[in-house]
């Protein structure tokens, strides 16, 4: 099984290196800043809107903010060392976020890029290589992206090489890769299966004007459709909170269809059948009491209770709805698997009360509609810059 180098200097991935990068190394900041400019080029951002958000994340101002968050008064901060990333195949941009933060922390990185990567991932790799040509060669020597098959010999060797292994891709991937041992001093950063929800205040909806409602739906539609509702943070079930949800739901769905129309998004027949199968299954087990198929692009299900909300993917454009009296009523329905709650129409006090009541037992992000997919340095409950660094205590 051979390794294909997609980025970086070819050679033995696990060989010792004399190269040293610092936390917030200017050569890395310079490189990432150039990459950001490439990704923010209008032609790229138009074709792949998700690369626009990535480019924004990599702007120098953002990078300096991230670096300053890595610094501490009580310890010297250093790179963690060697970091091995195993990002998911199908969310094209995740690998860049994870890698860029780690590079910014000064680590030597190896990223395994899936052979099934396509579209935006290819655009990113092209941009990376174009930028590398003008950057300090230490970047290419210390930052490598490779593609290889499901080869445990290679994964095993990289696992023994690294100080931190970053495993995306859900429970199955985490469990599979964990069978390969790390060095005793190394550890895993895991991103298991997650579920995300949308919560809509019916009172807040009624109080909003049509423009605000439409903007909310545009944000929700981006969150849901960009990754076929299959990213960890894509909202699936919509909880209508505050009572009298029927009319709100009807207006929400009709605006959603308008937005989907305007974007020209389509759902192919195979996906439509997939959604039927899943919707019928939920009806058959008594989890959904009513099914609506207004259009292949939107499937609406009425759940029989908040605890009936499915935690598995049920298709692109499939929206179960459930009603709850208040956000606090939803607290018992949340668990450790739940990642993002995207919200509309709640007061800051309501959201804080909800987050506090959850007590860290579930839900890592509570963000407005339209921000569900926006990656941040704090992700899945981890402070990534702190995960990617190592601390030396110095007392005089």
């Amino acid at each position: 099984m051979s390794v294909i180098f997609r980025f970086g200097a070819e050679g033995d991935l696990t060989a010792p290196s004399e190269d040293r990068l610092a936390v917030g190394d200017p050569r890395v900041v310079d490189f990432l800043g150039r990459l950001a400019r490439k990704l923010l080029a209008p032609a790229v951002a138009r074709k792949h809107p998700e690369l626009g958000s990535l480019g924004y994340f990599l702007r120098p101002a953002e990078l300096h903010r991230a670096v300053s968050r890595m610094q501490r008064d009580d310890a010297l901060v250093f790179p963690r060392g060697n970091v091995f990333h195993l990002p998911p195949a199908n969310v094209d941009t995740i690998f860049v976020y994870s890698w860029a933060l780690s590079a910014l922390a000064g680590n030597h990185n190896v990223v395994r890029i899936s052979s099934r990567s396509a579209g935006a991932a290819e655009v990113i790799l092209e941009a990376l290589n174009a930028v590398a040509a003008e950057a300090d060669p230490i970047i290419a020597r210390t930052q490598r992206m490779v593609t290889y098959g499901y080869d445990d010999a290679i994964t095993g060797a990289l696992s023994k090489w690294c100080d931190l292994r970053v495993i995306w891709g859900g429970d199955a991937a985490v469990n599979t890769i964990r069978k390969l041992p790390l060095r005793p001093s190394a550890r895993d950063l895991t991103f298991p299966d997650r579920t995300s929800w949308a919560m809509l205040s019916t009172a807040g909806w009624r109080a909003a004007d049509l423009v605000a409602r439409r903007n909310a739906v545009v944000g929700f539609a981006n969150d849901a459709y960009w990754f076929d509702q299959a990213a960890c943070s894509s909202p699936r079930t919509v909880f209508l909170v505050g009572g009298d949800g029927d009319s709100v739901r009807a207006e929400f769905l009709s605006l959603l269809l308008e937005v989907v129309d305007a974007r020209g998004w389509t759902v192919d027949p195979a996906m439509a059948v997939e959604k039927r199968v899943n919707a019928y299954e939920l009806a058959a087990i008594g989890a959904a009491g009513a099914l609506d198929f207004p259009d292949n692009r939107v499937t609406a299900l009425t759940l029989t209770g908040t605890d009936a909300a499915p935690r598995r993917w049920i298709g692109a454009g499939a929206f179960p709805f459930a009603e709850a009296g208040s956000l606090l009523d939803l607290v018992p329905a949340m668990n450790r698997q739940d990642q993002t709650v995207s919200h509309f129409g709640f007061t800051p006090a309501e959201l804080r009360e909800f987050g506090t009541a959850l007590g860290g037992r579930g839900v890592d992000r509570i963000v407005p509609f339209g921000q569900a997919l926006t990656f941040g340095a704090i992700w899945d409950g981890y402070d990534l810059p702190s995960e990617f660094t190592r601390l030396t205590v110095l007392q005089h």
């Binding site: 995740i94 429970d171 991937a173 890769i177 299959a230 960890c232 059948v273 058959a284």
Partner: protein
Amino acid sequence: MSVFTLSQAAKEEVLLKELSSLTAHHRLNCEPYDRILAASGYQDAASVADLPWLPVRLFKTLELKSIPDDEVFKVLTSSGTTGDVSRIYLDKAAAAEQQRRLAATVQTILGPKRLPMLLVDTKAMLKDRRSFSARGAGVLGMSTFGRDHVWALDGEGLVDLDAIRGFLAKHGDQPFLIFGFTFLVWLHLYEVARDNGLDLSNGILIHSGGWKKLIDQAVSPDEFRARLAGVGLTNVHNYYGMVEQIGTIFLEGPSGGSLYCPDFADVVVRDPETWAELPPGKPGLLEVVSTLPTSYPGHVLLTEDLGVVHGIDDGDWPGKRFSVLGRLPRAEARGCSDTYRSAA
């Protein structure tokens, strides 16, 4: 005796009545099915195309049966490539009826007497009778319509030319039945007959199993017929059927090119955007209906096959005539859950 007798109008009148009462029967006896129909807001059907269809894949994920556990006589499973298999529950009556109707259907072309039968397959495939695969079920189901069976392939799956020659020497001057999967017939019978000058002109071929592998080799259904005719095999009938509607097969007519629906079954081609029925000539997703599924709610099924109706009441036999065009590709989503799948 034929089961291809009813004009489309007459058939739809009968089917609408029988399938509607089957729908009511299954709602009473299969709670998950009743929940699906209730959640979909199903009322009554005014036409066959109005009847509530189930995606065929549901039989892979749900246990759908309309009989108590102690009346389950046979559980059929489909051969799945993805690991999921359909489970079809038959009671004694349904098992007997499906065999009877299948017999009536093939006797339309074979006549009432059992014919000597050449099976283009290997006996080894049947070894494990408990894993009742679709291929095994197909071969076993068909084999009851023949006698003096000879397998054209040996235990290794290689052509047993001596066995075929022996069969032809004994039975080749009288009508005989050949059965096999389309691709196996092409590879292991047509080519062997052509290369060895075998005389198959008294054979009646019944074959099934999809065209994908042949189309990969650039062999169209028309060419398949033409090339078989070249080795004397002119009596050729393709059929389409699935374990989820066991006993119902859609059979190619004598002049070829179209599949026909027996009196107790029909097809509806649906627009995959609007899900409305499409007129002849417009390809879409194929729905199959049959009155045979009495022990499980499989009487109205949306397949994942694409098809087209060519005409109605205008062919070898009355009713709709149609073709299967291929499979709908599986839906694939982007998503976070798929990094690494090895057997570490």
